[in-house]
Subunit: 490 residues, 2 copies
């Protein structure tokens, strides 16, 4: 456990020492995807950021309950409680049952998470799986006089709420400004104020996803599910709430209002954390402009914006080279640079694993490990950690070439800490999946043996053939003094 | 579409021509796992059987909506509505939130399904995700006078139901015998009759999983979820309901009663299909007797009952060698025989893919393809299909050795149909996952090239070294006239 962990809290707009409410347990809720299409690259970045955070919290010894939801109902096309349900619309367009849409894209989402090395959360609750609890929370908020029914829908009364509680604190909005800026209702709206938001929406006759409620058949408002599922599984208050920057307003603001209204707890979440945006070639990603990539496109390279594919590890490394709270621009140049960087560290890691201790030098391995730790404790600063790993890679290179003769202790610490930070914390697992990878290792051993034999016999033809053909297969051979090793080129 | 498909209907105890209610759409519901521990090998067999059925229905051109549920609440330790909730108990023992248990074992279940080549279902609904709908069905059944409340629980009134409807038809039980055989209630039971079963159970104070209902806080009875989720997603009546043989009574019998009671539809399911048992070394699998294996044990071989591991493909092939409706005994001998059989067919498939047409013979490929089709149309008779594939493997062997000179048409049909039945229908996808497998193919090409060179130069040392070492890596080299091919030994 480390009391030195500092977390940037979006709510207070400052870095704070992290103190969990129920040490050594940590509760973390992250807003998950709305499963009506393939997971967006920006969302992948956000989820990967929180995977890093999850990994580091566990590394510090916390027992983390990590809840990331699946939104499978209630997310309408716009934030003003209007438009079609995103999943319902897709179901209508594809002539499928909405839950078929949900299943397909949930499967796809899990596949992408797995490929990019993200751990599954401890609990992955769904909005449709918590209708009862959502209805209960609506009733609770109504009982406090902070929500009202109108034509079978129920709305949160922001004006009433803001009389006694802060609204807008997280997103830095002033309630007065919000109210003066709120558009005039045309008299046809059911809402008393355009700032009000739906807790429960009446289902129109053609709406497929619908449940009985005290207010007639309908479905929950989008913001409600997160308030319900976070408090159900993490209690109230809880430690960390995360999500993409774009969710701060109105989604997270509404979540806070709901939880405060329902429970009276004035600060439902101790630390709000937000992942920042991913842009593409300097611009916001946009499907209509063609400036848009899916995670799968990046791997296959099969897209007009790409000249080739990149490995999930290289892409993950690219994410890790930026702080989760900074915007990050993706371009082929940047990806290729990340790929090279990942390759260097991966090479260093392979070299390190087989390295014998040959001397008694220590370039300062313990202090280096502390710098790695400090980087992560400084609001999960992965780019600084990456820079530290590059420092270590230099030592590894020197040691491999015989210039640096590491002592057994220095070597052991280096091995242990490099693996810890590179593999476990950054999540850059080099391990290949499936039956093929295991066999590949054995076959490669054989090939390198044949090549060694060939070189001893000065059969340069065979030796070069092997190197060239492996190169074409994306495998790089590294020749050492007496031995050779190999790795994926990436 | 094929009108010739015959399905053994557990309800009528005979094979019947399959006629879907809404041709060309087919609705199929299969009882999924209770996610409180690792998926049982017997369940894996059942789910793999229904995967075969799903694949063949799709192959026939049906548009199948395949629903397989996840039981995450309500499954008590015994069938008499007593004992602890299985998931709740596990959660208590491991000091976790029940949904953490659910998440862990759902993830594990999905992993096993994926490894063994089972397609995900179209919809995978959860019991906790349908509490509202379950409460609605309880209310519906009560309104028909076929259920009663007692101390906050609601029970289905089997005696009352059986006055007007059949109960016990699926499992071949006579209601009179069931009633005379039913144990006397000790007066302390809430049930009017021991045959009655819970639709809704009152939650005791220590019960974690609980929801508000018109009868107080509680949770749904196990049988209810399947009635609710099948009718919600497939309508009432629907085509196929599957599950393990052990679910016939009481689970499926209760499901029928609930659906009949709630909807008045006298035959909720057209075709009931049941997968049969898997025994191990001639005996029922039993954890307490040590006669028990998990799917993962079979792959790693790391278990006292196993001398080594088997590939998921070989295990799947083992399942396919028996009809889904027959009991199947697993033993190492049987697994090794299956492995050899799979290897033979897999070799044949590899050989076939690269085979050129060299003559104008046709040993009867079209008639053979029809026999394959007929086997599957005869209640999904996979062992007959496997026997047919062995027949084809003989032709392939003859053709490879030059004894049979296949015409271009015969070869094309053979390639097309062999792939269809071996890969797509039986689901024995040889494709290796991940980045490693792809590379392995390229590296193996290089190795075989080096070996060819060595043999031309009569460098038997290198040639043998390669063969031996590949053998150790589990890779078999097949030398043809001018070329060599390779495959996993399995």
């Amino acid at each position: 456990m480390n009391a030195d962990l500092q977390v940037y809290n979006s709510l207070t707009r400052q870095k704070e020492v992290f103190k969990p409410l129920n040490h050594p347990r940590v509760g973390m809720y992250v807003c998950g995807p709305t499963v009506y299409n393939d997971v967006h690259l920006g969302n992948l970045r956000t989820f990967t950021s929180f995977d890093l955070i999850y990994r580091w919290l566990k590394e510090l010894g916390y027992s983390v309950r990590y809840v990331r939801n699946i939104t499978d109902v209630g997310h309408l096309e716009n934030d003003a409680d209007e438009g079609e349900d995103k999943i319902g619309k897709k179901a209508r367009l594809e002539q499928l049952e909405p839950m078929e849409i949900v299943q397909r894209y949930t499967n796809g989402f899990h596949e992408v998470m797995r490929i990019f090395g993200n751990f599954p959360p401890s609990i992955e609750p769904t909005a449709t799986g918590h209708i009862v609890e959502q209805i209960e929370m609506v009733k609770e908020i109504m009982s406090k006089g902070l929500a009202y029914e109108a034509n079978g829908s129920v709305y949160f009364d922001v004006r009433e709420f803001s009389k006694t509680q802060a609204y807008g604190e997280l997103s830095g909005r002033q309630i007065d400004e919000l109210m003066s800026g709120s558009r005039d209702l045309d008299g046809q709206s059911e809402k008393r104020d355009s700032l009000d938001f739906a807790l429960w929406k009446k289902a129109s006759p053609e709406h497929i996803m619908r449940w009985p409620s005290p207010w007639g058949e309908g479905f929950p408002g989008w913001h409600l599910e997160c308030s319900v599922m976070s408090s159900k599984y993490l209690g109230m208050p809880f430690d960390i709430h995360g999500g993409g920057m774009d969710l701060k307003f109105p989604h997270h603001e509404c979540e806070i209002a709901q939880n405060v209204a329902a429970t009276g707890c004035s600060r439902p979440v101790q630390y709000w954390m937000h992942g920042n945006m991913l842009t593409l070639n300097g611009k916001k990603m946009s499907k209509s402009d063609g400036n848009f990539l899916l995670p799968g496109d990046l791997i296959t390279g099969n897209h007009p914006l790409l000249s080739r594919g990149y490995s999930p590890q290289a892409i993950r490394f690219f994410f890790m080279q930026a702080h989760y709270g900074s915007t990050l621009d993706m371009s082929e140049e940047a990806l290729q640079a990340a790929e090279k960087g990942y390759q260097r560290l991966s090479q260093a890691y392979t070299t390190l694993k087989g390295m014998p201790a040959e001397g008694n030098e220590n370039p300062g391995v313990e202090a280096w490990a502390e710098r790695c730790q400090k980087a992560m404790n400084d609001d999960f600063n992965s780019p600084i950690l990456v820079a530290q790993l590059f420092e270590a890679a230099k030592w590894i290179q020197s040691a491999a070439s015989g210039q640096l003769k590491l002592s057994p202790t220095a070597l052991q610490t280096l091995k242990h800490e490099f693996e810890r930070f590179f593999i476990r914390v950054l999540g850059l697992n080099e391990q290949q999946e499936g039956i093929g990878a295991n066999r590949l290792e054995q076959v490669m051993e054989l090939i390198l043996e044949i090549r060694r034999e060939a070189r001893i016999k000065k059969d340069w033809g065979t030796s070069d053939l092997i190197r060239d053909r492996l190169g074409k297969a994306g495998i790089v051979v590294n020749d050492g003094k007496d031995t050779s090793s190999w790795q994926f080129e990436l």
